[in-house]
Symmetry: D2
Subunit: 396 residues, 4 copies
């Protein structure tokens, strides 16, 4: 009896070739699994392609709601941005796909799972570390890392093996997309001095110029309504991708540090992600106490690093999520965003639990702050450096 | 013989009243000191006002170059932003003014210094902690914190004492400005839900809409040229304030945590600061090694917090500056910025010392990365969480 | 009708004088409240002293179990040590006393509370910040900070007002004690070069010299048995104070940084605290995954700092406690401690959930580690610094 | 013409076999290099063994002073302890040996270097990452990781190839030693519950019981004298190893997290290291300002982690060393240590630059602290949590 393997299948060239390659060169029965994380595309087409490539079965899983609520939302709680710029688009979809690889392997009694990542990217790390954390007994096969095919080789292999593909030998960009954003790599952008060609952008092509305003409601850190209309999280993200994107907002162009020791130039589009993080952060500005806010900001770096580095399933990520979730209990209220060409910005925030205290903050006559306390405060606050000055800097 | 005091003098209502008040109520000889940190205005007018208010002498000090090179630049090295948003505009001018208060006190043999800050702001902390770190023996007087005058009271006091002022009892905004930006407080913005009135903006009124590009050159972290034209730092900042501001870029609207325990709503304009920090950060992306970059980003929070909290003159700030300066030794190169309405963005970066390695990063055939190393790397990288899974999560 | 005040009453000179002083000089009805946190002493004597000093009522509260379980235990979870040396003895009792001040004020319908701390210590901060976090409406009176009495003045006041006291004008040390340890200040130790006189020690006088062993059982981070005999936490701490103390173990001599900007020399005895933290930490070494352990160690500093600085009742402390509690879910098992003169040390640790994996760790033939993975791991692990070397250090 | 390789040679079984193996199986000319980092032993014997095993040349390098001053001292500045317990004994010798491998390779025109580490330890990481940071062009060979010999296989290979060795097939412990301490692994200690056999200890066998005292002088963080007698650093460490060790002080028994993802049980002896770190830390307690001390303590974790993980030669380690060196400028003075059986403890510390201020700290009548400042300080210090309490916790 043949061994079974579950392959994370996208419908593209590499994973189509991998179906055949795993069956032919390694004698596996291949189950192709496609997970909908909001990348768009026609899953029926994908299903047929997998069968045509030789899969014995195809699983199509709609994970959009799970992705939004169990992966994106905890990351929004943390205002998660790798290297302060990248909202962790692909870093977040890999663990949900890893989860379904493990579940599907169980369902099909498979002994192994496979993914289509190369040997120099981050996604191999995210898949393999995630899979081993979920089920250390599964074997993991990474065909693309093993076979050493160039793109042309893959196309030749497909043709030689009658795999139906839609690909040309010259493919300028590599794209990964989900609800939370879109990543674009390769081509002339491999020179980090070259501006990205304008045709790389799809979600952030500006079509509007009239200023407008959007109000987002949060409940314990979770976006729950747009302009007071309650919506579920998937729909909120979908709608804000369109709304913010239509103002040309949401582009990121950066050189980032991969876990495997190299720097790479990446271009992203993430209108909803950037806008929601901005709004969420602004609501936290009025609902988180200072020390809590400052420590949370520092921990956000570590949280984001873990996600980027493939450690979603790890005790430290879980522990930090516990902390982050604690911080959200009063992050309820509304944020007003202004929209102008190329810019989305916060113009107002309010909350039933706001720590902004007009009577303490105002310079008007309602002022409740005890100014006389300040003199003592400032003297004691500075006593350490005053002593340093007397005893060390001006020591004689 | 009368005791002398040096007052940090702005030419505005409060410090004009303070000249008289210190002389009349506290029997001081008052030396008025005005420091040019790029706030604009006519210092001859200020000089005459001080004399008219009763100062025995006026010192006008051009500190723009010192401010840019000794205070702004080390902060740019750190990409210093308080609460990840505010580029520390006023936090940076206070220590340079404190320095000159102490120097001027020495020159005039004064026993005390004075400032015009209230009891609930950050600037009193910055002045007093800074002054005590520089000369713990000087007395410090804070007339505004003591006298408890409303704005109307101050105007009445000025009139009663023949102090020439240009002020009305209704003054909507409180402004502080220097080379690095402009801060606007009070008025209807004290409601953090209310959008700032459009008339609060001066530096970021959009006058241009045609896309353009600016190239900034850095040498060891220091901006040295615009579009390859060498310029000194003061001129670079001045020019970029105009250039970026003319695209409507550079606004900040936030609720921040003051050191004295309250939250306040603040609006800033800082076109050059935001643009230079963005460009500098992008150059660091290709010139700083990953671990160094990540630790520097975490320390940047602490660095910014210290500046905000009045601890420029402190051993920790100096120690962190040593670290930050070390990190800048290879931050030399160029950054290409795109300018569009309301947006300035990085579109390219290059450096002789770039750690971006095309041969490691490319997916083309020049690829020098050893893909076979990845399998072992990923297994060992995930061994800790694999063990956690086996021994704890799936323990039975 | 007179206003009521609740005073944290120790039975000592200062708080006895404070009872009378609050009644006589400020016209309060004084309720004296004594909280048993394991400091020892006869609470009936204390009760009578309070009445004799003029209290209208006395509350004696046994808070030992609450102190151990709700304050000491969460701190043990964090291995809490201020400045890596001090197990937060007094920092932990203040918040529990603050809690009872607020509760007792409610019970007696009091408008104010009072404590006997001076103006330069940490305890005033802990009391007042804690009280305001629990009930911002209560007034707080700090008689000792206000009256400016020397010790001799207090004794005179006591005599003049017929307050029965047991005190001499020369009192060498100031002591604060509870379950978690004992703090000794003042006297000749105010010179940080002078060794503490041997008579300052009470809990750590060595009476044993024969080596022995103690096994401590933990369940989810909580000590639950000594030598396999289940005991409650108060009893475990009490017994270990005696056992470890009898070997002369548990002394701390340090100069610490107070929150109010000064350094002070402090001597502590904390045999149970130091031994339990050591044992708990050793159990964590086998039950916490590396990244979790390292981040926890860093956060432990911040946690300890908050406690020391009076911020037990704060959202950041609560958030960090959430994190710390998460980390304890597998910290179950046993630690073997060796006892020798002046030394308690870990000599063994085991856990059902141990992440120590003999087959991965051993150099014997059971070795399950894939040595061949190492080469790739090491190359990728060092790729960043290799690139740094090629492109920057050895740049030409 | 044959290729040359430089092997880090210890004189033990594995590296003796490696000389022959590299020559015979890989056709290298082998240069054996032995570095004296204070491990003891007779280097003439080692020299002869290397020749007998087939080396074409032997280099013996006395690196003790370099090791002490350039590697140990910067680590002492940081109070470097991995996982708060291990003073980085072997972590520190590897980079100095890596340095000499690279230098010797240059001298002999070798194309490769080799070390005798296994595939599951930390030392392979330290050697290889260090070597690649110093000279990325050198090939690195790790015979022990490649050949897969058991101890018995190695002995057989030695006998078959006439390599003179002094080894039995049963070797209970693996030892690594240098000036800064001694590491003992393997044998029955691979069970982390088992106490280490008493015969594993050599440096900490107690021979003294009479209490005594030692005074150590530091100059800018560097130990410069014992009991006021100036000595160089190597001699200070040597002498303190004997003095402290003779009281039975200096043992560490821990389970640590290796970089390669496994936990291992390690026993160390490090009398001088532990005593010097304790003394240095105590001197910092009086010479470092609070904020500086607290941040330094947090960064010490990261510094130690880098060393442990093989990243001595890295820009982050260099940057942190810059910070650490800055902090030492006033760390000059004396520390008094008490010695008793099994215990070395700080009993006094003093410095010309001490920030301990008797007049601020004392409760005697010289008290210079302004108690009245405290009330305002405490109120403002707690204002954030007071607002949290009013607006969130007790919100209604």
């Amino acid at each position: 009896m043949k061994k079974r393997i579950v392959l994370a299948y996208s419908g593209g060239l590499d994973t189509s070739v991998a179906v055949k390659w795993l069956a032919k060169e390694h004698d596996y029965e291949v189950v192709a699994m496609a997970v909908d994380v909001g990348q768009g595309g026609d899953f029926e087409v994908i299903r047929h392609r997998a069968i045509a490539a030789g899969a014995i079965a195809v699983e199509v899983i709609d994970a959009r709601s799970q992705f939004a609520n169990d992966f994106v939302l905890p990351t929004l709680f943390a205002n998660g941005m790798y290297e302060n710029k990248y909202p962790l688009v692909s870093s977040l979809s890999r663990p949900v796909i890893a989860h379904h690889l493990v579940e599907t392997a169980k369902k099909y009694d498979a002994v192994a799972v496979a993914h289509g990542c190369t040997g120099k990217g981050n996604d191999q790390v995210r898949f393999e570390v995630g899979i081993r954390a979920l089920n250390p007994k599964l074997e993991i096969v990474a065909p693309v890392r093993v076979w050493g095919f160039s793109r042309a080789d893959s196309i030749d292999y497909a043709e030689a093996n009658s795999i139906p593909i839609v690909a040309t030998k010259d493919k300028p960009y590599s794209i990964d997309q989900n609800l939370w954003g879109r990543a674009i790599e390769c081509g002339e952008m491999e020179d980090p001095w070259a501006p990205p060609p304008s045709d790389v952008y799809e979600m952030t092509v500006r079509t509007k110029s009239e200023p407008s305003e959007v109000v987002i409601t949060f409940d314990k850190g979770k976006p729950t309504a747009i302009d007071h209309k309650p919506m579920d999280l998937v729909d909120i993200i979908d709608e804000l991708n369109v709304t913010f994107g239509s103002y040309g907002f949401g582009r990121i162009d950066m050189v980032e540090n991969r876990r495997v020791g190299i720097k790479s130039r990446e271009v992203y589009e993430a209108p909803a992600a950037l806008g929601l993080i901005m709004a969420h952060d602004a609501l936290e500005d009025i609902t988180l106490e200072r020390d809590l806010a400052h420590e949370k900001a520092k921990l956000s770096h570590r949280f984001s690093e873990l996600l980027y580095d493939g450690l979603w399933y790890s005790p430290l990520r879980e522990g930090l999520s516990n902390f982050m979730e604690y911080t959200q209990q009063y992050v309820s209220g509304e944020v007003r965003l202004g929209l102008e060409p190329n810019r989305v910005f916060v113009s107002g925030r309010r909350s039933e639990y706001s720590l902004y205290d007009y009577e303490l903050a105002t310079y008007e006559k309602e002022d409740a702050f005890r100014h006389s306390d300040a003199e003592g405060f400032v003297r004691i606050w500075g006593l350490g450096v005053e002593t340093w000055s007397r005893k060390q800097v001006n020591h004689d």
